[in-house]
């Protein structure tokens, strides 16, 4: 591709950070559609404006999602960009790959599309960035042939994702990869056939460090924690100390509830006041470890700001033991969906429903006992709606 066609974009070939323009140019030589997309992008850089139109509804047979339709607003100028749909491919839990499997994916993407990807989309999917309507069925066949399926889009369950967890992290309180995998498989219908009031995301983090931002970016957040005391290896703590690690400034003074004492010899933790924030453990992984009674907290409702303001997920089940098969998680999930089905308005995320309905009322609907850990503090206003009042005859 001649440099002169995209002088502005070429500026982005400079600099040390790997360039997405280089990635695109690498494909442009063999893929005319990429060349036109680049030319259209150059136009955007000149106009300071997108040149994509609203997506129309495109997809594969039997699925209501997984493809994001995308059309150029100037197909006459950029014919290769006329269609440039996204295919969302459901990633394996934890984003682990064998080179063999990845190569198969690459071959498919190169054959049926632009050969460009996002590894990965913000929700977690493998994204094939750009193909035409005609190629959708063929690419779908090729993918399923090799064991791949589409991810979610629209008012559906979105592709669940999880942190690396037990595969490479000492702090995973349960098998987050397996939970993610199992939920993905168990709810295939919910992923592929949008039937919810709006989108619904699940993210699974092995501990409160929350390396997949479950608390901020998933309607249903499953995050590991523990119930019993932090396990202390005093010897290792003394070693850290001897190495010059500052236990005072990296743990004691940073503990949000000041639950730690360190006298230069021994560390002591007031576990009743420990809020399981992870700070001391993060700082001293050899000396401190989460307890043995491990499980997860379920939190509900996070989302981006459109249009009532962003929400974080908030505690729905303070502690749940995670047992193989994950029946309890599924049970809660389905009860939440039922209430959402009955009461959710169109385009109302579950967090917004809880806000509108009231969390107390929502708990009752969903059949979960109120627990003080669900709130930062009890109500500050006296405006209680009582279910009933006493009458003379009572």
């Amino acid at each position: 591709m001649a440099e002169s066609e995209t002088p502005l974009l070429d500026e982005l070939l400079k600099g040390k950070w790997p360039s997405f323009i280089k990635e695109m140019k690498d494909m442009a030589d063999t893929k005319p559609m990429v060349r036109d997309v680049l030319r259209q992008l150059e136009q955007s850089y000149r106009d300071k404006k997108t040149h994509w139109k609203h997506g129309g509804i495109v997809g594969v047979k039997g699925y209501g999602g997984g493809i994001i339709g995308r059309y150029s607003d100037s197909p006459e100028k950029f014919p290769g960009a006329a269609h440039f749909h996204t295919v969302r491919v459901n990633q394996p839990a934890g984003w682990f790959y064998s080179s063999e499997a990845l190569r198969e994916l690459c071959d498919i993407f190169e054959k049926y599309g632009s050969g460009l990807t996002n590894m990965h989309g913000s929700t977690g999917d493998i994204i094939l960035l750009g193909t035409t309507t005609d190629e959708l069925e063929p690419i779908f066949s090729a993918l399923t042939e090799k064991g791949w399926d589409l991810g979610g889009s629209g008012s559906a369950l979105r592709t669940p994702s999880c942190c690396v967890g037990p595969a490479r992290c000492e702090w995973a309180m349960f098998d987050c990869l397996d939970v993610c995998h199992e939920l993905t498989h168990f709810y295939q219908d919910e992923i592929h056939r949008p039937a919810f009031p709006y989108k619904f995301k699940i993210k699974v983090s092995g501990c409160p460090n929350d390396c997949v931002s479950a608390i901020a970016r998933s309607d249903f957040s499953i995050i590991g924690t523990w119930k019993d005391d932090i396990i202390i290896d005093q010897e290792e703590m003394r070693k850290y100390h001897a190495e010059g690690k500052d236990i005072l400034r990296s743990a004691v003074m940073l503990c949000p509830t000041r639950a730690i004492e360190w006298d230069g010899e021994n560390i002591e933790i007031d576990n009743e006041n420990c809020v399981r924030c992870m700070q001391c453990i993060n700082a001293f992984p050899k000396g401190l470890a989460p307890g043995n009674v491990r499980g997860a907290t379920i939190l509900l409702g996070s989302k981006a700001p459109i249009v009532q303001g962003a929400l974080f997920s908030s505690v729905l089940i303070p502690f749940m033991e995670i047992e193989e098969g994950y029946a309890e998680i599924k049970d809660v999930l389905e009860r939440v969906w039922d209430v959402w089905d009955d009461h959710g308005e169109n385009k109302e995320r579950i967090g917004e429903l809880v806000e509108r309905m009231g969390k107390g009322e929502f708990l009752e609907q969903v059949g979960i006992e109120p627990d003080v850990q669900m709130v930062c503090h009890p109500r500050e206003n006296p405006y209680v709606f009582y279910d009933e009042y006493l009458e003379e005859e009572d």
Binding site: D26, K49, N90, S99, M119, H120, R168, S213, Q279, V307
Partner: protein, 357 residues
């Protein structure tokens, strides 16, 4: 149904785990960061797993992916993974492989880093590369900012983890609402109403209902066509109406631009998760390299480097030094637009005598 396969779900992750992971799955004891980009995880068994983290533009061609497959075959028994920030992680049990692998990867132009107290990759979105509602280009911004922050990716020079995000419109696909530093594409002019054939494309009641501030009402054009009218003073440019009705285009070259945000976080370490806060309401789009945005981010990073204490995230630092000092140190102007006036605004007012002079 015919032989067409559906609903097979994602492949089993177990197929993709390297042998050392299989052997130590759920039985890791601790980890250490050996140097920027390189960590070791040690199992209770004594086994070691080394990880080399490589920066990625996220938008990868199959060519690059195949390059990493080659590296995996050569050094990692054929396995690799990606992180939740779109970095590539090369996984090996063989310590001797680390240096040659790094050498080869770096030689091909890929940076190794992003661990611990570095600035990792920027979570971002589609922008002009692929999205119809974008107020800016995500990938170009990321490239421009990361070029500037490159040294902080390959070294451990910031006080704590520093997580950046970019999103190209208020939908905030990604992490903008909970990041240490975020760049957000914004529209800043109410949608224009393209009355022509509007009713063919848009449902009038749905579009009116889509507006969270009630700024839209039904109207009739001079030639008696049904159309919509926007009360501009009630519009805060969310684009919800445009999503419902393509005849209300909101993109506007002169007014679209970027806002800069700081102080969000997701982790529960020390403080609870925090939403990101707006510190620069608007910078005009200036492609291809958005120098004003790069400069603003650099300013924030420098303040953080100078004033942050070990482990402090941006939010923790500002909590300690105060917002007044943050604005003073960065030189950003505080305006009425910084003061929340949306639904929960009251909770953001300083209802105390805690003041710094």
């Amino acid at each position: 149904m015919n032989a067409r396969k559906t609903d097979i779900g994602c492949p089993d992750y177990k197929k993709f785990l390297p042998p050392v992971v299989h052997a130590n799955y759920g039985k890791w004891k601790y980890h250490e960061v050996l140097k920027p980009g390189v960590t070791v995880h040690v199992g209770h068994s004594g086994d070691k797993l080394f990880t080399v983290r490589v920066g990625s533009p996220r938008l990868l061609s199959v060519k690059s992916i195949r390059f990493f497959c080659d590296m995996a075959d050569k050094y990692c028994e054929g396995f690799l993974r990606f992180t939740s920030r779109s970095n590539i992680e090369m996984l090996t049990a063989t310590e001797e492989n680390i240096e040659p692998m790094i050498k080869e990867i770096e030689a091909a132009g890929w940076p190794v880093g992003g661990t611990a107290n570095s600035i990792s990759n920027i979570i971002h979105t589609q922008g002009w590369v692929h999205c119809h509602t974008s107020a800016t280009d995500a990938s170009g911004l990321v490239k421009s900012v990361m070029d500037d922050l490159y040294d902080d990716f390959v070294s451990h020079g910031v006080p704590g983890r520093l997580k950046l995000a970019v999103a190209c419109c208020l939908n905030m696909c990604g992490a903008v609402h909970a990041s240490d530093i975020a760049i957000l594409g914004i529209h800043r002019r109410p949608p224009k109403v393209d009355s022509e054939a509007l009713t063919n494309f848009c449902e009038i009641p749905t579009t009116i209902a889509a507006c969270p501030t009630g700024a839209i009402r039904a109207d009739i054009t001079e030639d008696g066509q049904k159309t919509l009218k926007i009360n501009e003073s009630q519009c805060m440019y969310c684009g919800a109406c445009y999503t419902a009705c393509p005849k209300l285009p909101i993109a506007d070259a002169l007014n679209d631009g970027l806002s800069i945000w700081v102080g969000g976080k997701c982790a529960n370490a020390r403080s609870i998760p925090q939403f990101t806060k707006m510190v620069v309401p608007w910078i005009p789009n200036n492609p291809p390299r958005w120098p004003e945005v790069v400069e603003a981010v650099r300013t924030i990073v420098d303040v953080y480097k100078e004033h942050g204490k070990p482990w402090e995230r941006m939010a923790d630092m500002i909590d300690r030094i105060g917002w007044a000092r943050f604005f003073k140190l960065t030189g950003f102007e505080f305006t009425k637009y910084h003061i929340d006036d949306y639904k929960l605004a009251t909770k953001s007012f300083n209802a105390s005598m805690h003041l710094r002079f």
